[in-house]
Symmetry: C2
Subunit: 697 residues, 2 copies
């Protein structure tokens, strides 16, 4: 198991979709539709369409200028893979998280926990992370440079294929802006060298399978294709496994090794008994956790999509393995989803089917109701916060992507200029996690359920004459006893017939050199019936796991567009419920006359919990609106000379730039109705207000 | 500077109050009032008083049973200093943070940022943490045990003083429950040995000054008083400095050393320019950050009060050093506070004065308006979330506690069974942080302000004949030029007269062996007048810094009491605004008849954003109320047979156990009015409802 098999539970593994034959990597972003169509699914505001092509550089420039986020430690030169969120980014993130909390935790009465990030090594050893949570890297001994092997092989082969195209006189791919620039650092130039047709085909096959190679296999590819340091031509070391967890020492002795958690799930599993108790022992139930996790990426890239410190929100829904129905499934069964099934992918295609989740579950495409319920709830959450439903699909994991214990797994993928990005994972992890921790700690992590009627169980039982055991086996007695009492039913059946036949059994016990003979005077193995009043079982876990930073970035891309008419002005059409600031307050000018009204409005909004910002700078109204369109502020309230006369103000809608006018009370009431996450549309919200011909912006 | 001088900025340094002569350590908790008086300042609910003495063990048992928090990795044996928050703890913490965000960030339009915890070493080297953020530890070479030196000296001398009292036949101190038990692990028994009177006095003096000793001084004390491993009598190593930051390596090379941040402040300083820009370059303004920080404590103790991973909320208010007035000071100037001034402490006393913050600032006790404004706002925040105002004081730092650059510093301290706990620090840090980072990175971190009228400045200016400089000085030319153009005004005055007198100047330049002579043909130094249109300054910083975990624990203690009448039932009287769950829904029994009404009520509360929980377990109503009193749920709504008839329900208040009855609409409306952080009182909220004689609980 290498890091790939953790895909089932980590929303964070791949920027590019894993698997083969359907990959959309950064270099294929040209295939994406490059005109943005804003779909009016959620914001309930007037839709806005534009034919100005999406350009990542324009978006990045807005995000930087408005301080949505920035490389951390920028004035010290930055550290790759670390980003700070500025005020609008912070507010947008907080609103997404708040919506998440309401949509999942409060709606479903989940048990929220906040566990520490510092985690002792032993816990992550048990979960498998210490041994297997790794990527492959190689080093250039001459320069000290380090490469992530799969990325390097991919880059070099892609550049050779490009060179081949050039040599054949075919149009070379225009590099996409951001990502390509960064990558140029490694593969600096494309050499126009024609390749044999068979080599081209070989390269393409390797690229299609790049996520599936083990470290040694990657090493063989490097040898075979003579892959060296692209900058210097220097030979590289063979691939080494690099564990992606940040290591530290807890306490002053330096003896207690710890890691920063790579996910929030473990804390929830370890607290299972307390959580069950806190839920009055009722099943099924879910716990949830929102917090930072850490992965020491070898070479972070793709902005917020692959970072070293990130916010996750994870749910662990504990369910009876014998009953995975969900009591509220009927509430979502009609929800239609775009599903990319595993068999379609295995055929090398990427066609989605559009099905209701009800159909998907009843046809067996989605394994069970509970998994289906959460897939639908994830869809409803994502579209609520402004994800474009036409750029959202659910992709099923193929057999080679899933861990052996997982029953079924679906990723919510969002389409961005970087390709389809895995943003939420939703996996049925069976009883794996609780079982391994329970085994390691000898702490039972089970549900005990009173049976309505006792169950009669017929089984082989072992009885030992303990008084004779000690004198006969001396110090080995205990070990032999443990061995005999921990046999499975199948083993006992064989031992029982051996005992009946030979009047003794011969067993090999770990730690005792010679075979051990136990005679009929010491042991009885017989089939007996006992009544079971309690059913004890380890619950299965359905785990929806959200990468908040990836959702944050993808939904920003989905909501970014450029007004074609006026000076290419950028707009971020966030739904009002998640927009960083809800209302912009604009006095017509810096005139003192406007101040009392502006501050009265500020305080009204504050009291109602609606965030507002005053912009009383000397810029023109148009410029001030433009600034706030870039911040995604959905509503603007203008105070002018008439306002001072009659207490009316104008209200502007960001996407359409439509304006209406009304009394302060009516405008505030209209905003209040439109601004929540379930608010009404602009048309609905402002139908009582007067249309207002705005001055050209 | 050792860790103590960071006290000015870190709310996290001392469990016991630092300084001397007024310490309330754990061992003096007996001096605390041991009957709880619930003061009706904030909850606006009926006050409840009790004479059942506070007992930390009862509280801890409730907090554990109700899963407010638990040692992390409990089933693996736990790791000291790490705690997980369970569902009620998580909700209580979220409500405290949410109130904080509204009270500070939204109310004051602060610029919130979310910066990474992973921090490269260079940043923390500049801030001083790499060199000086340390405590002193010593090791027993025989057993490998590690002790925090100041704590060990304190414990040993205290135990000897107790032994002396026993020997003198004086009443020995009854150990306080929790803390004393833990400490017994180190000093296992008190030996009744009489000490000389002079030794007793010496010990008491040392204990009074224990927080003020340097490492070598602590080493001398250990030698002098023959302090050894209390368990074994083994000799200990001399004190070693132990840096309290968790270290890790960022990236695959292992070359980039990083730490987990010990505070959230640095990220705010580093982003200063972007924050100023994001505030449209207006001054003054504040940034704020809420997030986890980390300190690798040598031996964590006192539960949530000294932990290794903790939630902080920090504000950096940037202000013109020449104008520290605050525009909204008049809004708080009447707020009365209990202040413990530094001169009182220096006299060895702990008397607080009660003053309005207006008086405190105008008399000069508090350094300036902005600092005073935040002290008052901190008070309002703490009392709003349920801190007992009679167990809250503001303690001024004494000169020996403050960093050299700090202008004034006050801690909000909360009284608990562990003594007075520093929970919020509020410091005027002058321009220290921005200055050191700017110097290190050569990035200007300043405010540029257009002057209303240009300032005429008369100053010495240097003019060099650069054409002649090169030929004359060759490779040294640039260095000499830099030297001459970076002289201060005082130095230039001296050089000018030297030049006038000797027609040349002789200077020593770093990196050039021989003195350098520069003649009048190459240099002119003259007094000239220039007009300055822009004022450029480094802002000062006022920093309120909140330890959320400490506030969380202290406010729990302040709100915990026992009903004397009935079976010693425990209650947590949280204000409704921060209570984990607002409403308990209790059907009279498990009868199916009640289900539709209960689920209707659930959905009404959910829609209004009021958290509720259904308890339809088979326990008696009284037991279910009792369970929720322990969870601090302020309101209970009971659905009974009459409800099914006429849609009325009863509403119960947690502290008084009073009940009223009304229609569902009226009861929900009443709850809605009482439940927010600024909600109305029970009397006010329920005046339209019918009193209801409850069955005995």
């Amino acid at each position: 198991m290498n890091v790939r098999s953790f895909v089932t539970r980590l929303a964070y593994i791949n920027t590019t979709s894993p698997g083969f034959a359907f990959r959309y990597s950064h270099s294929t972003s040209k295939r994406l539709p490059n005109s943005r169509t804003k779909i009016d699914t959620n914001s309930k505001m007037s839709s806005a369409t534009t034919s100005v092509p999406f350009d990542r550089e324009s978006l990045e420039s807005v995000l930087k200028r408005r301080f949505f986020f920035t490389p951390s430690f920028d004035i010290y030169g930055g550290v790759s893979g670390l980003y700070d969120y500025g005020p609008p980014g912070c507010a947008l993130q907080a609103n997404i998280v708040d919506t998440w909390r309401k949509h999942f935790i409060l709606e479903e009465d989940m048990q929220e926990v906040d566990c520490t990030m510092l985690t002792p090594s032993e816990v992550l050893k048990t979960s498998g992370h210490v041994d297997k949570f790794a990527d492959w890297m190689c080093r250039d001994p001459a320069t000290g440079e380090i490469f992530r092997v799969d990325h390097l092989v991919e880059e070099v082969l892609e550049s050779r294929l490009k060179g081949d195209k050039e040599a054949r006189g075919q149009a070379a791919t225009t590099p996409a802006s951001g990502e390509e620039k960064k990558r140029k650092k490694k593969v600096k130039e494309i050499k126009a060298i024609k390749l044999d047709d068979s080599v081209v085909q070989e390269y393409e096959e390797v690229l299609a399978r790049i996520d599936g190679y083990s470290g040694p296999e990657l090493g063989q590819l490097m040898e075979k294709y003579e892959i060296v340091n692209p900058a210097t031509g220097g030979k590289l070391s063979p691939p080494l496994e690099f564990n992606l967890m940040f290591e530290t020492a807890i306490g002053p002795s330096g003896q207690l090794k710890g890691y920063l958690r790579p996910e929030t799930a473990q804390g929830q599993f370890l607290n299972f008994n307390k959580l069950l108790d806190s839920n009055n022992s009722k099943m099924p139930f879910a716990s949830a956790s929102i917090g930072k996790s850490f992965r020491n990426e070898i070479s972070p890239r793709s902005g917020l999509l692959r970072v070293r410190e990130f916010l996750m929100a994870e749910i662990e829904h504990f369910v009876d393995p014998k009953d995975k129905t969900h009591p509220r499934f009927h509430e979502v069964e009609h929800v239609k989803l775009r599903l990319l099934a595993k068999d379609v992918q295995q055929d090398g295609r990427t066609d989605v089917v559009e099905l209701s989740i009800g159909e998907a579950v009843s046809s067996g495409l989605v394994d069970n109701q509970t998994l289906g319920y959460f897939i639908a709830r994830i869809y409803l959450f994502l579209t609520k916060i402004g994800v474009d439903k036409n750029r959202l699909r659910f992709r099923q994991h193929m057999a080679n992507e899933m861990a052996h214990y997982a029953a079924d797994c679906w990723d919510a993928e969002l389409q961005t200029s970087y390709g389809w990005i895995e943003c939420v994972g939703c996996a049925d992890r069976s009883a794996y996690d609780l079982t391994v921790h329970s085994k390691r700690t000898n702490e039972k992590l089970v549900v005990r359920q009173s049976l309505p009627e006792p169950l009669s169980i017929e089984e082989f039982q072992v009885e030992l004459d303990k008084k004779k055991f000690g004198p006969k086996f001396k110090k080995d007695g205990k070990r032999i006893e443990e061995y005999l009492t921990s046999r499975s039913q199948d083993e006992l059946e064989i031992l029982a017939s051996e005992l009946a036949e030979k009047l003794q059994i011969t067993v090999s016990v770990d730690g005792i050199a010679a075979p051990v003979e136990v005679g009929k005077d010491l042991i009885a193995i017989e089939k007996k019936t006992r009544l079971e009043h309690i059913r004890e079982y380890t619950p299965n876990v359905i785990e929806p796991s959200f990468g908040i930073g990836r959702i944050f970035y993808s939904m920003i891309e989905h909501n970014f567009w450029i007004r074609p008419e006026s000076d290419q002005r950028a707009v971020l059409s966030f739904p009002p419920g998640v927009a960083p600031t809800k209302v912009l307050l604009v006095p017509l000018s810096n005139n003192d006359e406007f101040k009392p009204l502006v501050s009265q409005l500020s305080s009204i909004f504050r009291r109602r919990g609606i965030t507002s910002k005053v912009d009383d700078s000397s810029a023109t109204i148009g410029r001030r609106y433009a600034r706030n369109d870039e911040l995604g502020t959905p509503f603007g309230v203008t105070v002018d000379f008439q306002s001072v006369q009659d207490n009316t103000v104008t209200l502007r809608e960001r996407d359409s730039t439509k304006q209406v006018r009304g009394s302060i009370e009516d405008v505030v009431a209209a905003i209040e109705n439109m601004v929540s996450i379930d608010g009404v549309s602009w048309e609905e919200g402002t139908k009582g207000l007067q249309p207002f011909d705005s001055v050209a912006e």
